[in-house]
Amino acid sequence: MAKPTTDKTTDKKTDKSKNAVAVSEPEHPLTTMAVVAPLVGWLIPGGGHILLKRYGRGILLLVSVVAMFLIGLGMQGRIYKPNGGDILDILGFVGDVGSGALYFLARLMDWGNVMAANAEADYGKTFLIVAGLLNFIAAADAHHIALGKKQ
């Protein structure tokens, strides 16, 4: 009785074609929403989640980031301007700009243009920077939700 033979060359070819498909098609393809949602989320804190119909999460993020930003301003925190000087000043600007529209509004209205040298103003500055950094995390989360990596 003849033994069943397998065509190894054919198997190798199918393996290669499978790999080729796996490489060419990412598990979570980039969609328009995956680009728009984080951008909206950056400009309007929680906006990316609201755009993706995660209303509860979006509102909580909006309240948290806006409250931190306003408390920071209320504590006489300083808003960093674009600068090319000290590395800590550059990082402070990067943190502040994370608040998106809030940062531009503050610059437009000349809020946070103070040089108070007390502990409270220092806490305020930290609140402003952290509000921006938390908003960056929220925007990245909106990107992951839009991609389908997260629920």
């Binding site: 989640h49 999460r57 909580l60 993020l61 309240v63 948290s64 980031v65 409250a67 931190m68 408390i71 209320g74 504590m75 006489q76 502990a119 409270e120 806490y123 930290t126 609140f127 952290v130 509000a131 938390l134 995390i137 929220a138 990245a140 989360d141 997260k150 629920q151």
Partner: protein
């Protein structure tokens, strides 16, 4: 408008808002988000107490 917060109250407010964002962004289901948020809040506030006691002991 000026807001006057003590070091401790500022730390608690900071912990509250940061925990909300961490909870929402780092977990999937609502119950997991709530648990993780509470866990982060407890760690933040616990860290404040711990650091406070360490500084008080160093000062003695």
């Amino acid at each position: 408008m000026t807001i006057n917060l003590s070091h401790f109250s500022a730390a608690v407010v900071f912990a509250l808002f940061a925990s909300v964002v961490f909870g929402i962004t780092q977990r999937n289901s609502t119950i997991d988000q709530l648990r993780y948020g509470l866990y982060c809040f407890a760690l933040f506030v616990g860290g404040v107490f711990l650091a406070g006691w360490v500084m008080a002991l160093i000062r003695r």
